[in-house]
Amino acid sequence: MNEILKIAWRNLWRNKRRTIITASSIFFALFFAISMRSFQLGTYDHMIRQAIESFSGYLQVQDTEYADDPSIDNAFSASPTLLASLRTNPNVAVVVPRVESFALASTGTLSKGVLVAGIDPEQEKALSNPALKLVRYRLSPASLKTIRTLPNVSTSLIDLLESMKGASFTSKETLQADLSLKVADSVLLNNLCRVCAVPGSYLKTSDQGVLLSDRLSNYLHIDVGDTVVLMGQGYHGTSAAGTYPVRGIVKMPAPELDNKLIYMSLDQASAFFGLDGRLTSIAINLRNTDRMKETQAELNRLLEKEKTVVVKNWEEINPTLKQQIQGDNKSGVIFLFVLYVIIFFGIFGTVQMMLSERQREFGMMVSIGMKRGKLATILTAEMIFIGLIGSLTGMLATVPLIILGYLYPVKLTGEMARIYMDYGFDPIMPMAWFDSYFYLQGGIIFFMVLLASYLPVLSILKLDPIKALHGQ
C-alpha cells in the first residue's frame, strides 16, 4: 500500500503542470462555493440579528390572543414576580417590559402612522439600546453652509458632504469613517462635529418626552425640542391623545423601524394608552440562541399557571422575515446546485483529459505486465491526492477572506443598497464565521472529485493495451 501511495505521489509530480491545472480547478470551485455560501449565511444572520436581537427579541411573552390580534386590547398585566421568574432561566440574558401599539403622529399639517414603543429607559439599554443610537451629528443644510466658511476644507470634502446632505451620525467615529478622514485631520473633524452637533438626550425613567426615529423626524420636519402630537386608540377603546416634546433622535439600523418608531417611557406610554400598568409584550434575549426552542418550552412551562400569557419565538412573531430568509435560502441552494453542476463537469473534463493524455502510458504499463486493478488503484490514489490538495488549499484560501468579510462587511452602494433598504435591511453583506457549512462545502467538492474520476478509472479496468498503444 505504501508503495502504491509513493508511486501515485511521484506520478503527480512527474507532470507538475497537469497536476496543478487539475488541482486549481478544484481549488477555484471550492473557493467560490464557500465564499458564496458564507456571504448568504452571513447576510441571513445579520438580518436576524438586526431585526430580532436589536428590537423584538428572540422570545416574547404575550397575551394568548395577541398573536392573532396584535391590538392594544390584548395587553396583559405583568407582576414584578413574573419578570423576575423569567430571569431565573439560565439561558435568558435580557428581559425587558414593553408597550407597543400604533398611533398617528402629527406636526402642523404633516402626519404619519407610527409605532409607539413604551420602554423602561434603563432596562432597554440591554436590548435595543436606543441610547447608543442617538443621533449626535447631522449634515443639515444650515451646518453645510457653516462648513463652507471653515478653514482647511478641501473642495472634494465639500462635494462629499454635499452628496451626503441630511445624513446623520451616531458618533464621531462613524462620521470619521464615512468621510474617510485620517487621524491627522482631527482638528477638522472636531470642527465638523461642533458645527453638525445635534443636542438630543436619552429618556429618563418616566420621562415626559419621546425619542423619534431619524427618518420619521425628517418626514415630519421636527427636531430635538419640538413637540409632536400623538393620537390613537388606547386600551379598551379609550381615546389616546397627547403632546410630547422630542428629547432626541435615534437612528435605527433597520429602515423599516427607522421610518416609524417613537420611543416613550413605559409610564408615559401606559398613561397615553390608558393601560394602567399593563404590557403588550416582554422581550427576551438569549445567551445561546441555538437553544431557543428548548428555552421557549421551559418558559412556557414556567408560565403555565398564568393561563393568559404565552411565550412566542421570533419565527412566530415575525413570520415574514422567516419566510423571506427561507425563500432566499432556497434560491441560494438552487444557485449553489447550478454551481456544483458546473464545477462537476469542469473537474470531470479535466480528469478525463488528464487520463486520456496518459493512454499510451497505461497501454505500455499493462503490456509489460502491470495488473489493471493495481493501475486503477494508483490512479484513484492520485485523484484523492489531487482532490485533497485542491480542496485544502481552496479552504485555506477562503480563511482570510472570511475573516476579513466577517470583520469588515462589504458595504453595498447604489441600486443594490436601495433594494436592501427597501426590504428593511442594512445595505451590508457580512460573511458568516466558520461553521459546519465550511467543512460541508469542502466535503461536497471532494466527493465530486471522486465521482468525476469514477468513470475514467473504471475504463482502466477494461483497457485494451493494443488500442491504447495506438492511441485509439
Binding site: 386590547d73 386608540q233 379598551h236 377603546g237 381615546s239 391623545a241 403632546t243 390608558g274
Partner: protein, 250 residues
C-alpha cells in the same frame, strides 16, 4: 251597449300607487322630524359600547338644527371629557382639549367607529338625509316588538354620496317612530341593525329611549344608546355651531 273601459281602473290603480309612494316619503319625513325636531333638538345621551372583553360608557350632549348643523360634546368619562364634534354641512370637525388641536376628520375616516363605538362617523354626518337622498317604497306592514310598523325600503338616489346600498326602516304606524332599521351594503349584505325600544316621553313627545346598534358580522359587539333628556325646537344662536364654541362648550 258600450263595453266598460278599463282606463278608469288603470288610472285609479296608477294614482293609488303614486299616493302610496308619496305616502312612504311622507312617513320617513314625519319619522325624521319626530326624532330630530322640526326646527332643532337638544339631547343628552349615554352610550354603552359592548365588546366581548369589556364595556365602556360615554356620556355626551348635543345640539342640532334643521339646517344640518350639529355640535356634540363628551361629558364623561374624565379622560374623554371636553372632546367636541362639530358637523357643518358635510364636514366633521373634532376638538381635542388634551392636545389643543382642531382636526377635520378626513373622508377616509368616515366609515370608522365614532369614539370606538359601532356608530360610524358617517352615521353622525348623514343621519338627516334619509328624506332627501333616498327613494322610498312602502313594502307593507309588520309588527316589531309588539308595535305595528310600516316597512319601508330606501334606495339611494343617483348622484348622492351615500355609503349604503339599501336601507329598510320599520316606522310605527301610530307615532311615526323609527323602531328598527337594517343597513345593507352595495352587494345587498346586511351590515348592521338599529333597534329601538323603551318608548318614553321627552318634551311632550313620545320617543324610543334606547337604541341598539348591532353590527351583522360581529354579533358579540353592540352599542347601546340611552337617551336621558331631549328638548325640541328651541332656538339657538348661530354662535353655537362655530369652531370657537367647540373649544368652550361644556
Amino acid at each position: 251597449m258600450k263595453r266598460p273601459s278599463c282606463l278608469p281602473i288603470l288610472l285609479a290603480l296608477f294614482f293609488s300607487v303614486s299616493i302610496y309612494a308619496q305616502d312612504a316619503t311622507e312617513i320617513v319625513r314625519k319619522a325624521d322630524a319626530k326624532f330630530n325636531g322640526e326646527q332643532s333638538s337638544y339631547s343628552e345621551m349615554n352610550m354603552t359600547i359592548i365588546r366581548p372583553k369589556y364595556q365602556r360608557n360615554i356620556s355626551f350632549k348635543g345640539w342640532a338644527t334643521k339646517g344640518g348643523k350639529a355640535l356634540t360634546v363628551i361629558t364623561a368619562p374624565a379622560k374623554e371629557k371636553g372632546q367636541s364634534f362639530l358637523k357643518s354641512g358635510s364636514n366633521l370637525w373634532n376638538w381635542n382639549p388634551t392636545i389643543q388641536r382642531l382636526i377635520k376628520l378626513p373622508p377616509s375616516m368616515m366609515s370608522q367607529g365614532w369614539m370606538g363605538s359601532d356608530f360610524t362617523n358617517d352615521d353622525i354626518l348623514k343621519e338627516s338625509s334619509f328624506v332627501k337622498d333616498y327613494r322610498h317604497k312602502l313594502l307593507g306592514e309588520e309588527t316589531v316588538q309588539g308595535i305595528r310598523c310600516y316597512k319601508i325600503e330606501l334606495t339611494p338616489l343617483e348622484n348622492t354620496a351615500v355609503v349604503w346600498g339599501k336601507l329598510i326602516l320599520w316606522i310605527s304606524t301610530d307615532d311615526y317612530l323609527e323602531m328598527k332599521s337594517n343597513f345593507f351594503d352595495e352587494d345587498g349584505y346586511l351590515v348592521k341593525t338599529h333597534l329601538s325600544s323603551e318608548i318614553k316621553s321627552f318634551d311632550n313627545r313620545r320617543l324610543p329611549s334606547v337604541i341598539e346598534i348591532i353590527p351583522a358580522d360581529e354579533p358579540e359587539n353592540k352599542t347601546k344608546v340611552t337617551i336621558t333628556a331631549m328638548r325640541f325646537n328651541e332656538s339657538y344662536s348661530e354662535d353655537v355651531f362655530t369652531q370657537q364654541n367647540m373649544k368652550r362648550v361644556k
